[in-house]
Structures are given as structure tokens and as C-alpha cells.
């Protein structure tokens, strides 16, 4: 579209209105989106622009703490040859690939269940599913170190009692990642279910009624009515969860601190270590912007893919 254009949905102006008035109205209308955006843009300009730009510039400096000098792109070169960065990236990717789909699928099913009119005591289940989201991080850490305790944790006791082999949750790299996935899923499934629950309210009943008239069963209705109507919200959660998991920090921080032997080290933890443990803020910023680039590309790709399916 060229020049500042009128709203997407141009209301047909009544023919009787004079051209000057139309122009004035159109001008006013053109200003509207900018006025609507003004608060967000001003807040961004004042509070976010400087930190972003400043940290980006910092990624072009080397040294550590207060002893720094300009270094061009050398931090980024160092990144490419840093085995721990690649380990962290690999771990993050592995957690992402398992965790996001499982969690979102679960959240969607839960939301549909929690929305069903014929379910009893819905409010209770809704609150229950949401509860993990509000449980603080320190408590989560202690709690799961009890639950997943290798020797006599509740989860291993359960596995043992049904005849399954017990799992070395924090000693084995693979299972440590699974533990992180488990806790993440426990923590955020309810969060996403609430987003879907809100999204479900926007689907007109008429669509379901029409589908039922067509003889569609519940599965068919879910596929042909619920899913398509939720697409914008689904896209939102996919992008958000992807970003969230790529920036994963809290859960591995309290559960494993990146161990054993870096098996659960994530990019964000490595970033934190470099900045706040090793005081190498230039390198930490480079890690941050490498991650930013990755997140942006992946996010854009997801939007593209999910937008195209129509």
C-alpha cells in the first residue's frame, strides 16, 4: 500500500457529504492509528530504546567489567568458536523441540475441556490448572528437587511401584533435560490454557451449531471450527512459547544450574554467567544479540508458516 492509507475497512462514505469534509475526516482518520500507538511508542522510546541500543553497542566491546575497549565483531567471532555456546544452543533447541509442542497440545485440549458447558465445577478445574503458574520459583525449585530425587523421590517411587525402571533425573544429561521439560510443562500449560480459553470465547456458537447441523462429530468440529478460529491465538502462543523457551533461564537455574556437565546449560544461562558471574558484559551482549537474531528469524518463520496455511 502506498501513502498513509485509510483503515483496512474503509467505510463507504455517504455520497451526500461534501469533498472538503471528507478530506478533513480522512486526515483525522489517518492520524488515528498514530495517536493510538503514541503511548506505546513514547514508553518504548523513553525506557526501551536506550537499553537496547546501548547493550547492542556493548556487544562490540571486549574486556570485562569496567576495563573495556572497542572490539568490532570479535565477540561474535569468539561466539562461533565457543564450544559451550554451541552446547547451550543445542540443549536449548532440544528442550524447545520437545517442550513447546507437548505443552501447547496439552493446553489446547485442557482449554477445550475447561470450556465445555457440560463439565461440572468448571471454576474449580480452571483455578486448579492455573495454580502452577502462580507458584514461585524458589518453591518450585525445592519442590521438584524433592519430587525428582533419584533415590527416594515421589516420581521414582511411583515408577518403581508400577514396575518401571527409576530415572536418574539430575545425574543423567538426557533425563535432566527431561526434568526441565517436565517442570516447564507443569508451570506453563495452565498459562497457555487460559489464553486458549479466552480465545475460545470469541468463536461464535453459530459456527458449532452449523457444524452440528452438518453432522460433524466432536473431533470434526474441533478440527474444522475450533482450530481455524483459534489460529491467530495459536500463532501467538507458538511464537511466545518459542521465544520463552529459547530464553529459558529460571527453571534450569533452580533445578540444575546447567548441570550435569552442561547438559542443561541454556543460552540465557550462559549469557547470565558471562555477564553476572564473569563480568564480561561485552561477550554477554553478543550472546544476547545472537540469541535475538535467532529468535527473530524463528519467530518470523513461524508466523510465515502458520499464516500461509490458509
Amino acid at each position: 500500500m502506498t501513502a498513509a492509507a485509510p483503515p483496512v475497512t474503509r467505510p463507504a462514505a455517504p455520497a451526500a457529504v461534501r469533498p472538503a469534509a471528507v478530506r478533513r475526516a480522512r486526515l483525522r482518520r489517518r492520524a488515528v492509528p498514530y495517536l493510538l500507538l503514541a503511548p506505546a511508542l513514547i514508553l518504548f522510546g523513553v525506557f526501551k530504546a536506550y537499553p537496547i541500543i546501548s547493550s547492542m553497542l556493548l556487544s562490540l566491546t571486549a574486556g570485562s567489567g569496567s576495563v573495556t575497549h572497542s572490539a568490532g565483531l570479535s565477540n561474535y567471532q569468539r561466539l562461533l568458536h565457543d564450544p559451550l555456546f554451541w552446547t547451550a544452543l543445542g540443549n536449548t533447541a532440544r528442550i524447545l523441540v520437545v517442550q513447546v509442542p507437548v505443552m501447547l497440545a496439552l493446553a489446547l485440549l485442557l482449554a477445550v475441556g475447561l470450556n465445555a458447558a457440560f463439565v461440572r465445577w468448571r471454576t474449580v478445574w480452571r483455578l486448579g490448572v492455573f495454580m502452577p503458574t502462580v507458584t514461585g520459583l524458589v518453591a518450585t525449585g525445592i519442590l521438584f528437587s524433592f519430587l525428582l530425587n533419584t533415590k527416594d523421590g515421589a516420581v521414582n517411587n511411583l515408577l518403581d511401584s508400577i514396575g518401571l525402571p527409576t530415572v536418574d533425573w539430575f545425574g543423567d544429561g538426557f533425563w535432566a533435560r527431561m526434568a526441565v521439560v517436565l517442570v516447564l510443562t507443569w508451570h506453563y500449560t495452565g498459562y497457555n490454557a487460559v489464553i486458549y480459553l479466552a480465545g475460545l470465547q470469541g468463536i461464535p456458537k453459530e459456527l458449532y451449531e452449523a457444524a452440528m447441523v452438518d453432522g460433524a462429530g466432536p473431533v470434526r468440529r474441533f478440527r474444522s471450527v475450533t482450530l481455524p478460529a483459534l489460529r491467530p491465538v495459536l500463532l501467538f502462543t507458538v511464537v511466545l512459547s518459542t521465544i520463552g523457551t529459547l530464553q529459558l533461564f529460571d527453571e534450569p537455574y533452580v533445578l540444575t544450574r546447567g548441570g550435569p556437565d552442561n547438559a542443561t546449560l541454556t543460552v540465557s544461562m550462559y549469557l547470565y554467567d558471562n555477564g553476572f558471574r564473569y563480568f564480561d558484559f561485552g561477550y554477554a551482549s553478543a550472546i544476547a544479540y545472537a540469541l535475538t537474531l535467532l529468535v527473530s528469524v524463528l519467530g518470523a518463520a513461524q508466523m510465515r508458516l502458520m499464516g500461509e496455511r490458509e
Binding site: V8, A49, Y50, I52, I53, S54, M56, L57, S64, G65, S66, V67, P83, G141, I142, S145, F146, N149, T150, K151, W169, F170, G171, A176, R231, P232, L235, Y253, V254, L255, T256, R257, G259, P260, D261, N262, T264, D273, G275, F276, R277, Y278, F279, D280, F281, L293, S296, V297, G299, A300, M303, R304, M306, G307, E308, E310
Partner: protein, 447 residues
Amino acid sequence: MSHLSRRDLLRASGAGLLTLTAGGALAACGGSNGSGSSGGDAATGNITVWSWTSAADALRGVVPAFEKDNPGIKVDVQDVGNPAIWDKITVGLAAGGQGLADVLHIGCDYLPGYLEKFPNGLADLSALGADAHKDKFAKGLWPVVTDKDGKARALPWEVNAQGFFYRKDMFDRAKLDPTTFETWDDVIAGADAFKAANPGVGVLGINKPGTPGPDVDFLQSLMQQQGAFYFDLKGDITLTSPECVRALTLVKRLNDAGLVIETPGSTAWRTQMKDSQLGAGPQPSWAAHYIETKFPDLSGNWRLTRPPAVTPGGKRTAIVNTTHLAVAASSPRRTAAWKFVEYALTRADSVNAMFKAGSVFPALTAAYQDPIYSEPSAYYGGQPVLKTFTDLLSEGGDATNYSGDYARALKLVSDAQTKVLVKGGDPAEALQEAAKQLAQQTGRKIK
């Protein structure tokens, strides 16, 4: 998705990055300088102290007397919490020393890093007269608080020497007497007897996978007993030294002998102690008070002795960690702040009052004359338990050069220990690998 076309998105991601980079030029011109304020030497005024529980409570106890002796200075001790305090101090230092409290409580794991990476972040206390107190602290501590030019940037407060706590009932059952252990080999020699008499019980617990966080205090103490560490005093990497390899090999041998039980997570040690799954604990001084208060049911069963040496006739002392008080260079009232630090840490009365209030074991050796350190403790079967520590500390440790890269070294050593204990790796190889990575990350030489 009618309002977000693919083309839009591709443009969006590209344009977003462009805008950000373009904006960079602007900030380069108008950005604030990070040099920060230069502080001042006012001798009066209100000073703020950042510390954590329960040291903060102990410090608060000193304030009334200090304010009485130093009219014109008011002290506010704030409890920031640990680990929260590190983020707070680090951000302040990174912002050029702005926004920090006047007095900062800093542990040995952070202090050397702050000194090396933020050379002007903490005030030069030598200029304020700190050197007069140089010999008043347990041997081996002064190098930790001085920068590369030999200027003091903090004073030692708390010191934790390693002790060997043990369950007398369990060792009696095995007919072993830990006070006769000369080296850790004696412990290994008694392994079978101990295990037979106490099935399922470990002599020590280690968080083998290091989740969450390194558990290498024991390994570190074995190095320190031999006068070794991750770095030598020049700052070269010494992880491949015979002493360090011997230390990790010893941990492995203890593990192979079935004496080390897995203590996973941040909570298991407590549970295992409570549940009598641990027969001993190489633990630092604070544990004396901790064990007594947390496990009252086990009264009479615990005893303390000097840790066995690594090699026959070897040193028994290892100072596992210390904490310090420093003055922020940006403080406008550095003299007043120093006065408080000096008052709190160099007078036996103050440090002993703080020890009684918050069980912060003092580094000031003059304090050890106080009768509390030789009082028999009912919990420890009438043993004067603190005396073991004051004896060890009077003997003193070797200077430990934590270096500005301690955090990196700690992580790599923890990974090495995990490789050895969990994956059956070879100690020498694991340390070799750690040393190589450390050299690569820090540019330090391997000795």
C-alpha cells in the same frame, strides 16, 4: 491471519534490525559515560550497608556502640539476601560504581572478580589505614583482600575453616576412631568396617552431578591442604598440578570405596543428615552451629576433629571460604564507611558480639582468646567444639589466589568432578580438559 502477511513479516524482521542498528549511532553520541562518580571522603553522615541474613543482624548489633563512639555517623544495615546481593552489586559496579551502598558485604567467590574486573569499583582501604591491621587476621587471608598493586580493598570478616564432623555412635559401632585418622587413606582403610556396621550410610555426601550448582568445597579443601589451588599466586592455571590431580583422585577413591553417597539437589544434604544417612561431614565452621540447631534430635552423637591430611604429615588446615566488608569507591562518605568497617572487624569485642549474634566465625585471631571458643558444648558430647577451629585457624592456611576468574574455574572444576564421579572419567584427564578450557576462556597460562 488476515492482518499479518508473510511479506510484512519478512520486512518487519529486517526493518526491526535496521532500526536498531541505525539508532545505535544516536546512542553513541548521546550515551551516558560509564565512568561514574568519583565519591568523596566525608567522615560523617549516613552510611548504608548491604549484607544478608544473618550476618546483617549481627552487624546491626554493633551499630549502637559504633554510633555512640562516632557521633555524626548513622548506620543503616540492609538485608539484601544472598544470592540477590550479587546481582545488585554487579549492576552497580557495571554502571560505573553508581548506586551502590557505602559498605558492601562480599564473599571470596566474588571479591577477587570484582577487584580484577572493576579495578576502581571498591575504595582503596590502604589509603585509609587498613594496612595497620594486616597481621591481625588468620594467615592466608590478606592476599584475598588486596588488589594486584597490593592495596587492601576489603577487610576479612567471616572465615570458614574445614572441620571433620563425624557421628561418634556410627564410628564406635565400626570400632573406628576418627581422631586417629592421619590421612584420608586411613578413612578408606576403614571403609569396609564402617559400611558393615552402618549399612546404607555414607561417610560423606557430594552432589555428584553438581545440580543445582557446584559442590566442590571438599575437593577444593583437599587442594588447599596441599597448598595448591586452581591458580598459583601469579595467576597461572595449576589444575594439572600433581596436588590437584591427587585431590580429585582422592575424591574418586573415596567414591569407589563406597563412602560417598549421592546428595542431589539443594535440599538432600539436610534431609540425609536428619535421617542419619551421613556418618560424617567435612564441613566448615558455620556447620558447628548449624548442625546443633537443625538436628536437635541427634544431640550427643556428633563430634568434631581436624580433617585428615591428604599426604602423611600433611597440613590439616583448609580455609574453604571467607567473607569481607568493602567500601564502595563511589561513596561520598568513604572515611565514615571505613570507620565503621574498622570498628566492626578489627575489634575483638565487635567480632565476638557478631559471632554470638549471628554465628559469623571471625577471621580476627585476637578474638579467639574469648572463653566462648573453649566452652564445652553439650550437643557435641561436652567437646569444646569451636576450639578445633580456632586451633586450625591459628595454624593458618596458605594464601589462596581465587583470581578474577574463580567463577569460570569453579564451573569447569565442578564439571570435571562430575565427569569423574558420574561418568567414571579419569581425574588427570578431566582436569587436563578443564585446564585447557580455562586457558582458552581466560587467556591465562597453564603451569
